[in-house]
């Protein structure tokens, strides 16, 4: 059964370092997403696994066997491409049966695989059309079926749906995940869309500038990210820079911000010392807004109010000179001071980065 092991992979294009020190273990029947902003090396990583480019250092094993020197066509995987890459001169059927065809599978069996795949992706009615006659969604379904017809157990998806309309994207990503799980495949799914990664994957690898930032389940990455970058890239967050004024216990600190604003906060792992610079990060939904004065809170004014649907999004100018966004079900009048209390379980305290917050949060 397919497992993929990457050991200390590095790739250079001339002097440009595209990937460094990638260590990754993909388990059998796992749906893994590789998530990162554009230019982070996602596609290069996939190209290394598939053999489209050669790696500069390290070792790749599929099923415990090194793939070094094995050409693309002899590595055991199926692939869906970002630009779909359907053969324009072949019909849907011909595209789907391409893998059995080039492997000289007997005609009867080829037809069996073809109709099975057509049924699987629900394209029976369009089987004689050419790719240019299909909608974007149907094209991508054909591409998935063509990949699955290889009968490989490792499926690699390179931004498979990012070029499609939002609604189609949402439907397709569930369909793809269901297919992968029903067929018991191991999948590696590349995307720059964190929502897509969260909704399809068992586990997400976050890649930035050719290095792995963090690996975790969607929930871990959203609720308890270990880095500021993840906090910012996965979901939305507010960041407040401050200084530790008092260490109350191993799990509690007092923090002061600009203009004498201060908060008492719980913190997890890193142990801070008095006088240390820190960054407090919290999600828009993890704070409470009140018109009345409440303890352990920050003072601010509402500068923007936007009705989203299930909640209202407020833009708030804090007295700390920071601007934050908050989501709330409460409808609050935007006049006068308001008081903001952070959910102590969900707000996270990070050590301030050496080269400044901005530098750490930038995507490139």
């Amino acid at each position: 059964m397919p497992t993929v092991t990457l050991r200390n992979i590095g790739k250079k294009f001339g002097r440009v370092v595209a990937l460094t020190g990638i260590d990754l273990e993909i388990k059998d029947a796992e749906y893994l997403a590789i998530l990162g902003p554009s230019g982070c090396g996602k596609t290069t990583l996939i190209n290394c696994i598939t053999g489209i480019v050669d790696i500069s250092e390290g070792k790749i094993e599929i099923d415990g066997k090194s793939v070094e020197g094995i050409p693309i066509e002899k590595r055991d995987f199926a692939m869906v491409f970002q630009n779909i890459a359907l053969f324009p001169h072949m019909t849907v059927s011909e595209n789907i049966s391409y893998a059995p065809y080039v492997n000289d599978i007997p005609h009867v069996e080829l037809k069996k695989i073809e109709s099975e795949m057509l049924k699987l992706v629900d394209l029976l009615e369009q089987k004689d059309l050419y790719p240019r006659e299909l909608s974007g969604g149907a094209q991508q379904k054909t591409a998935v079926a063509r990949a699955l017809a290889t009968r490989e157990k490792l499926l690699i998806l390179d931004e498979p749906i990012s070029a499609l309309d939002y609604k189609v994207r949402v439907t397709l990503r569930y369909a793809i995940r269901k297919l992968v799980k029903d067929l018991g495949l191991t999948a590696i799914h590349i995307t720059h869309d964190q929502e897509e990664a969260m909704s399809v994957a068992d586990r997400i690898v976050i890649l930035r500038a050719g290095e792995i930032v963090e690996i975790g389940t969607p929930q871990q990455l959203y609720s308890s990210p270990q880095t500021l970058f993840t906090m910012n890239f996965v979901g939305e967050s507010n960041f407040l820079e401050g200084v530790v004024t008092e260490v109350v216990s191993d799990h509690e600190v007092h923090v002061s911000f600009r203009n004498n604003q201060s908060l008492g906060l719980k913190n997890g792992d890193p142990h801070f010392e008095e006088g240390e610079s820190i960054v407090v990060a919290f999600r828009p939904e993890n704070a409470f807004i009140s018109k009345k004065s409440i303890g352990n809170s920050l003072i601010g004014e509402i500068t923007g109010k936007q009705f989203i649907g299930g909640y209202i999004r407020y833009t708030i100018s804090l007295r700390t000179e920071d601007e934050i966004i908050l989501d709330s079900r409460l409808d609050i009048e935007p006049h006068g001071n308001i008081f903001i209390q952070l959910n102590p379980q969900e707000a996270r305290v990070f050590r301030a980065p050496t080269y400044g917050l901005k530098k750490v949060l930038t995507l490139e």
Binding site: F81, A85, Y98, V102, D104, R146
Partner: protein, 567 residues
């Protein structure tokens, strides 16, 4: 002061843009372009067809009843057709792997090889024929450099060897042009489905490649049916009396002008016979090209079935390397070395006797005349070909599609048939007084017109017409839009077309000879030197000067394009 001048200049240019953007101006201009194309380019090139039909009774009497004429025509056509078909097939077989390697692989001598492939294009075919004959042929009258092959005595094999040098560069160039457009991920996708490299290329890329194959076939067929000067010098050097379709046109036309009798043919039959032969050549060329296009468009894959294990073996290990070595070996031995063999001859065979007996005045005149004709033809074609291309590209109605198909006809018509036809057209009309130089220029304009239009069309297809629309919404007049948006993008395509047109004109023999045997352009001068005077040294020297002029242009263009791209 300076600023005031600038302001005035700007106002002037806007006023000019307003004037030239007027609807009436546009319409008049386009009508003029059309008339020019139909009346002065297209019609004269196929005029001889109409002439043959109208004067069929006379032709019937003098040509079809004379067995000597018929047997000469049949023999000549046999050589022309069999050589062009065979050469085209072999070109494709070796051209595909070379084009593939040039587009998809990176290797050390790639750019060098890229320029080497184009080198034979810079050699005028009259010199090329001599060069190939020196390398391959047994040459009783010429002392050859020591490493010449010196093997071939017969016309058929050496004609084939010669046409490799004239057609192969065109085939490789048109194949690489299309191959560059085909997305490489399609092949990768095929390989992820388990197809070997060979299978992927055969089942995915090749079928999408039809238009490239069609263009390559058309170019190769047209070029090999058309060549005159090269065939004359080639066969003269190995002292063979064989005639191909195009050389026979030249020979008969010359015999008529010189009033020299041709054995077995009455003097009065010469003109109808020549017209008849030219008409047949035109029909054959158009038919072959049509068939080639049909084959390329409709042919299914040669083998529907895949043989995985066999196709593996040809994809892996030593096989691809061996294939490349064979293909590049073909290029070097059959194309590049024979084309440049002339240089070896010049270095070795420089004799003082040849130097002193040379007619230097005629030498200078011929080169001047060649450059003059080529320059005028190219300038006229740029001025009239570019608007034609814009019209074809931007108005996609049925009329423009018909125009699109017709633009290539002057290219496909064998050049000596074209020359003859243009000559007939201008002598038969009695409206304008004309002279021989005018004939030659008009023939060269017709012959090279397709180069400008095709290249400009290629450049226009790179430019999204949305940019032009954006400029128009911002208030630019049509003429301003052309000058500021369209022209900068298509500039290099136009220059490339102009250079192709110029070099083609510089190297042309057949059309010049057929339209006016007394006009001595440099290629005609070369042919005369080899065929009549046996002054091989001066012929080689003239060729070298023409190569120098052409390649200077080609390399300037390459340099300026790559500089512009870096910006």
């Amino acid at each position: 002061m300076l600023q005031k001048d600038r302001g005035q200049l700007d106002r002037l240019s806007i006023r000019l843009a307003n004037l030239t953007s007027k609807r009436e101006f546009n319409t008049t201009w386009y009508i003029f372009v059309f008339l020019f194309f139909f009346v002065l380019v297209l019609f004269p090139t196929i005029y001889v067809l109409g002439k043959v039909i109208l004067e069929f009774p006379a032709i019937n009497d003098s040509v079809l009843s004379n067995t000597e004429i018929q047997s000469q025509i049949i023999s000549a056509l046999f050589y022309s057709i069999s050589v062009s078909i065979f050469v085209t097939i072999v070109d494709l077989i070796f051209g595909l792997p070379i084009a593939w390697t040039l587009v998809r692989k990176e290797f050390r001598f790639k750019s060098l090889l890229n320029s080497f492939i184009e080198l034979p294009l810079a050699v005028p075919t009259a010199g090329l024929g001599f060069s190939v004959a020196l390398f391959w042929g047994v040459t009783p009258n010429v002392e050859t450099p020591i490493f010449a092959v010196q093997l071939i005595k017969n016309a058929l094999p050496i004609l084939i060897l010669f046409h490799f040098t004239t057609t192969f560069p065109y085939v490789v160039r048109s194949l690489t042009a299309i191959l560059e457009e085909i997305d490489v991920t399609l092949e990768v996708a095929a390989r992820t489905c388990g197809a070997s490299k060979f299978t992927a290329a055969r089942t995915v890329t090749l079928p999408m490649f039809r238009s490239g194959v069609a263009t390559a076939m058309v170019l190769s067929l047209a070029k090999s049916l058309s060549d005159t000067g090269g065939v004359v010098t080639l066969l003269a050097t190995i002292q063979s009396a064989t005639q191909t379709g195009t050389t026979l046109i030249g020979t008969w036309k010359h015999a008529f002008e010189d009033k020299t009798p041709v054995p077995g043919i009455p003097y009065d039959s010469l003109v109808p016979s020549t017209a008849f032969l030219a008409a047949i050549m035109i029909i054959i060329a158009l038919t072959l090209v049509f068939i080639a296009k049909m084959i390329a468009r409709n042919a299914r894959l040669p083998f529907r079935k895949v043989f995985p294990s066999f196709e593996w073996t040809v994809s892996e290990g030593k096989a691809p390397q061996a294939r490349q070595i064979v293909a590049f070996g073909f290029l070097i031995i059959f194309v590049i070395v024979p084309s440049l063999f002339l240089v070896a001859y010049l270095i070795q065979g420089a004799s003082l006797a040849a130097f002193s007996s040379a007619n230097w005045v005629l030498f200078g005149q011929s080169i001047f005349m060649t450059v003059l004709v080529a320059s005028i033809a190219t300038i006229v074609n740029v001025v009239l070909g570019v608007p034609m291309a814009i019209l074809i590209a931007r108005k996609s109605d049925r009329f423009s599609r018909i125009l699109d198909a017709m633009v290539d006809i002057p290219y496909v018509v064998p050049s000596s048939a074209l020359g003859l036809s243009v000559g007939f057209f201008w002598t038969d009309q009695s409206i304008l007084p004309v002279n021989e130089l005018f004939f030659v220029i008009m023939a060269h304009i017709s012959m090279t017109f397709p180069f400008i239009v095709r290249n400009t069309l290629g450049g226009l297809s790179e430019l999204d017409s949305a940019y032009e629309d954006v400029a128009r919404t911002l208030g630019a007049r049509p003429m301003q839009t052309f000058k500021e948006i369209t022209l900068p993008v298509i500039k290099f395509s136009i220059i490339a077309g102009a250079i192709m047109s110029f070099t083609r004109s510089v190297g042309e023999t057949g059309a010049t000879l057929a339209v006016s045997p007394s006009s001595i352009t440099a290629p005609v001068f070369i042919v005369n030197l080899i065929k009549n005077d046996q002054n091989y040294f001066l012929a080689a020297l003239t060729t070298l000067i023409l190569i120098f002029i052409s390649s200077l242009l080609i390399f300037t263009l390459r340099a300026s394009i790559s500089r512009a791209k870096r910006r």
